[in-house]
Each structure stands twice: as structure tokens, then as C-alpha cells.
């Protein structure tokens, strides 16, 4: 394994439902190396998204430890979490979550605005990211004028434009047809190879499986199986 950048030790996440604890994740022990292309696979409610949210510092574990890029997620305050996400983690969501009033260009540019890049640098990086996903001709369109596949490509461009070390994708192909799903996955694979970005997917989409280097199957918050190519 390449240099370890994520380490989860005895990680549990529980919620209090009707006075009883419900475990979304139970005693998870995992580590992820730099440049991995990993899928967390499992049915709905298996804890995939919760795991991604904890790695992405959007959520914190109930017990155990989540070390991401040498930062203990439990000990980070809101600002430190935001900084970690801002500089090192990209998110891709199932429903794209593009900002509706911005153009494609502005949606992608947003991630760079948070890092105070100069206008020239922003322009160069945004156009480069749009070229990566093949949308350089759609930069002035608003999200409501894009197809599902195009919207997800914008979301990918927005996630990769700041060249994060980790890219977390929550069911990125769930809302796409087969053709678009394969196209998106190929794009991600290309970025993974060329930029060395660590990709972690949550998915229960069979189409995704063949692209993964490593598959972690979750069931009821436990790791049921782990396979590597």
C-alpha cells in the first residue's frame, strides 16, 4: 500500500433512536493509501455514507479514531474541519448539489475562491478542470440547462479543480444511465491515475465494481468482506 493517508481504528457511529442506540458503523478498522481507487459497497443503510461523512470530517465518530491526513477528526473544531475539506478533500454527491444560480464555470471556480486563488490562476485551473471532464464548451450554462451526466461532470470538475488529496464520492452514478455512468467512472479513473488522487466511493451500483481496485463490502455497519485487485 502506498503511504497511508486515512486510518480508521475501532470506529463506531451510533444514533439514539427511541432511547436505544442504533449503530450505523461498528468497530470499523480500515486504512487507505495514497492514490487508491476504492469502493465501499453495500445496500442502503449499511453505513457507506456515514463512513464517507466521517472521513470527510462532516461527521464525527461516536467512538474510536478517524485519522485523515494526520488529523484526528474527533478533535477538530468547525473551522479546522472546514480547512481540511477546503484544501484536501473533494466531495461528489449523488444528486450533484450544484449551486443553481451559478454557471458551470462559477460552480467550479467556487472551490478556488475559498482558497483565495488569483483570478488568473482560477481561470487557468477552472478551464483545465472543465477540459478534464469534457465540458469546456458548457462553461457559461446554468446547471438547469445540463443533463444528469453533464451535471455530475461539473461536480467532478468542482471536486478536482483544487487538486485535493482525497475525493469522496457518494453514489456518484446512482442518478445516471449506464452510458453516462461508465463515462463518469472512466473520467474518475483517469484523474486517479494522472493526479494520484485517492478516490473513495460509496456505491451499490454493479457498473462501478469493475473499475475499483479495492472493494469494501459493508453490511449493517460491519465490514463483511474486503477484496483487492
Amino acid at each position: 500500500m502506498n503511504r497511508e493517508i486515512i486510518s480508521l481504528k475501532n470506529l463506531s457511529k451510533s444514533y439514539n433512536i427511541a432511547g436505544k442506540p442504533f449503530y450505523a458503523l461498528k468497530e470499523i478498522n480500515l486504512s487507505f493509501g495514497e492514490g487508491e481507487f476504492t469502493g465501499i459497497v453495500g445496500p442502503s443503510g449499511s453505513g457507506k455514507t456515514t463512513l464517507l461523512n466521517i472521513i470527510g470530517s462532516l461527521d464525527s465518530p461516536s467512538s474510536g479514531e478517524a485519522i485523515v491526513l494526520e488529523k484526528n477528526i474527533s478533535s477538530l473544531n468547525h473551522s479546522e474541519s472546514a480547512r481540511l475539506r477546503n484544501y484536501n478533500i473533494g466531495f461528489i454527491f449523488q444528486v450533484f448539489n450544484l449551486l443553481p444560480v451559478y454557471t458551470v464555470y462559477e460552480n467550479v471556480e467556487f472551490a478556488l475562491l475559498l482558497q483565495n486563488f488569483s483570478q488568473d490562476e482560477r481561470k487557468k485551473l477552472v478551464l483545465q478542470a472543465l477540459k478534464w471532464v469534457g465540458l469546456e464548451n458548457h462553461k457559461d450554462k446554468k446547471p438547469d440547462k445540463l443533463s444528469g451526466g453533464e451535471s455530475q461532470r461539473v461536480a467532478i470538475a468542482r471536486a478536482i479543480v483544487k487538486k485535493p488529496k482525497i475525493l469522496l464520492a457518494d453514489e456518484p452514478t446512482a442518478n445516471l444511465d449506464a452510458e453516462n455512468a461508465h463515462s463518469i467512472l472512466k473520467t474518475m479513473k483517469k484523474i486517479n491515475k494522472e493526479l494520484g488522487t485517492t478516490f473513495i466511493f460509496s456505491t451499490h451500483d454493479e457498473k462501478v465494481m469493475k473499475y475499483l481496485n479495492r472493494t469494501i463490502i459493508l453490511k449493517d455497519g460491519n465490514i463483511e468482506k474486503e477484496t483487492k485487485k
Binding site: 461523512n53 470527510g56 472546514a82 480547512r83 475539506r85 478533500i89 454527491f93 443553481p100 444560480v101 468542482r158
Partner: protein
Amino acid sequence: MLEFRLSIKNLLGAKLRTFLNLFVLSISFVVIILLNSLMDGWDAQAKKDSVEWEYGSGHLLNENYDPLDSFSILDGHAQIPDNANNLTPILVHQATIYPDGRMMSIKINGIPKDQKSIKIPTAKISANLSKFPALIGKRMAESANISIGDEVLIRWRDKNGTFDANRITVIDIFDSNVPTIDAGQIWMSLDTLWEMTGFNNEATFFIANDLYQHSKISGWEFKSKETLLKVITDLVDAKKSQQAIVYILLLGIALLAIFDTQVLSIFRRQKEIGTLIALGMTRKRVVKLFTIEGSLYSFFALLFGSIYGLPLFYFLAVEGFPVPPADQKVGIAMSDFIYPLYGLKLIFGTVFLVVISSTIVSFLPARKISKMNPVLALKGKLQ
């Protein structure tokens, strides 16, 4: 600033919602400025007219005379003191006139023909050859149905209490906005009034001119211009307070619209908020973004209000705001038209009030974001 740019984009993107909010808020802006400027205009004009027509630089009153108590007229007069420099003496006396056979109690004011302290056109008395020439105001003329040139029977009591009567000739009807020198009053030459009453060289009060320097005169009490004008200031302030209810209501409606929009926005845009946080924006910045977004309504409202407000303000400044005749009978100086007075204090004060209050009502719902769970926000599951 990123939040500022994003806020503008969000507002412009919201189109109709933004337009409705800023339209309501712009009405508040315009109405607050208009109502207050009319009050300020009225205040300034009433004070100017009162000084020019009644108060001069102040009144020196006989210690027994109270202008608000007509019973004090009988004894409220005395010999003019020797050191009455830069003072115009006025002798007030009660009488009855009989216009068209009706009986009407009035006040006669005796004033020197050559005075220049107030704008009562006394010079016209000098130029007239009638035996008892008199001046009246338009209100008196209207209520007594008297015209220029009319002779009216007048009856009064002299210093011994003996009734006497004669006919006065109305030689002019002056047009003043000050009702307290007009309604129920007749202005005559002081010499004539002394002759009629026998109160030779006596006065009820004096009107000071600009050169008057007050020093204590026994038996007389000085009221400065400012003290006399306080009645107007108090009345205008009371009117302003009443009008404040109107614009507080208007502003309240506008702010409620912004508050409602912000609360709905935060609920409706929770996925967007979750996304912003996931992309690395701190919660503090998201709160700032939504607060700026709300407070920008006031800025846009100011611009939008200027589009229709400025021409309206200009028109009223030139043409004046017509005052219905019924409103002119409030007891203090009020002309047929009020010209609004737009002070910097009023304009900046209003802008400050609206901007600050819209920022506060934007911040209150936005605070909720700082406690928002980004995971639930991304799922759109916050209640």
C-alpha cells in the same frame, strides 16, 4: 469579498422573490423619508412664519399677562418702562364687533404704525385717512364675513369700565400662516387704542427685535424666541411620534418579509448550505453569506426606491405638498403647501435604520446555520 459577490449572485438569481422584498422595503424607505421631511418642512416653515409674524426675537410680557388666559388681559398691562429699547409695545384689549348684526368677541391689538419687528402691514395704517383704520387677517375676515373697506361697529370699555362704541374701517386683510395673530383679532394703531381706552403709554407685552439684549425689568417677564417656539417643536414632535407608528408598521412588514424569506431560504436551501460546508466554507462564513444576502435587500431597496423616490421628492420640493383646509386649523402656523425639508441627518438616519434592522432580521435566522448538522443539511432532512 467572496460572501458579498455570492450574495449579489444569489439575490439576482432569486429574481421575483428579491424584487418583491426590495419593493416593500423601498416603500418603507420612501415613506419614512417623505413623512419626516414633510414634518421637518412644516416645523421649519411654522417656526419661520411664527418668528416673522408673531415672536420676533422674543416677547417681554407683563407679569400679570398670560397669552393663554383671556381673563388676564384686563389687568395684564402697565406703563412702558423707560429702558424699553429695541422693543415694540403691544397693547391688548377686549372688545366686541357686530358684523352683519352678529355679536363677536374679539381682541384688539394696538401696535405702533412704524414698527418693523413683525410682518403685520402696519405701514398701511399710516397711509390711511379713516378715523379708526384696522387690519385683520384672512381667518378673521372669513369668520366675520368682512371685506376690505367694510366698516364694522365695535364696542369696548375704557380704563374706567365705561362702554364706548364706534365704527372701524378695515383697510387691509393680511395673509399670514400664523393663526394666533389672526383668528378673532383686530390690529390697530397703538396711538388709536391708547386714545380709545385711555391706557396711555401702556403695553401688555413687547416684541423684541434682533438688537434686543435682555436685562431684568421689574414687572415684566422675558420669553426668548426659543422658548416661544418650543410649542411648535413639541407639536411637531408629537405629530412625528404619531407618524412613526405608520412607518414602524411599514418597516415591520418589510422586515417581516425579509425575515420570512431568510427563514424559508435557510430551510429551502439547506442542501446548498450543506454543500457549501462540504466544499470547505466555514459555518461562520455561511452565516455571513446569508446575513449579507438579507441586508443587501436594504441596499437594493435604496437603489430601487431612488428610482421613483427621487423624482417624487424633487416634485414635492418644488411644488409643495398641498394641505387640506381642515388641517390648517390645527392652531399653529401652517401654509397651504408644505415644502419638505430633506436633511442629511434624516436621509442617513433612515438608511442606517433600515440597513441595520434588515441586517439584524437576516442575522437572526442565519444564526441557525451555525448549529446546523451538515450531514442532515446535505440530505435536506432538517426540520
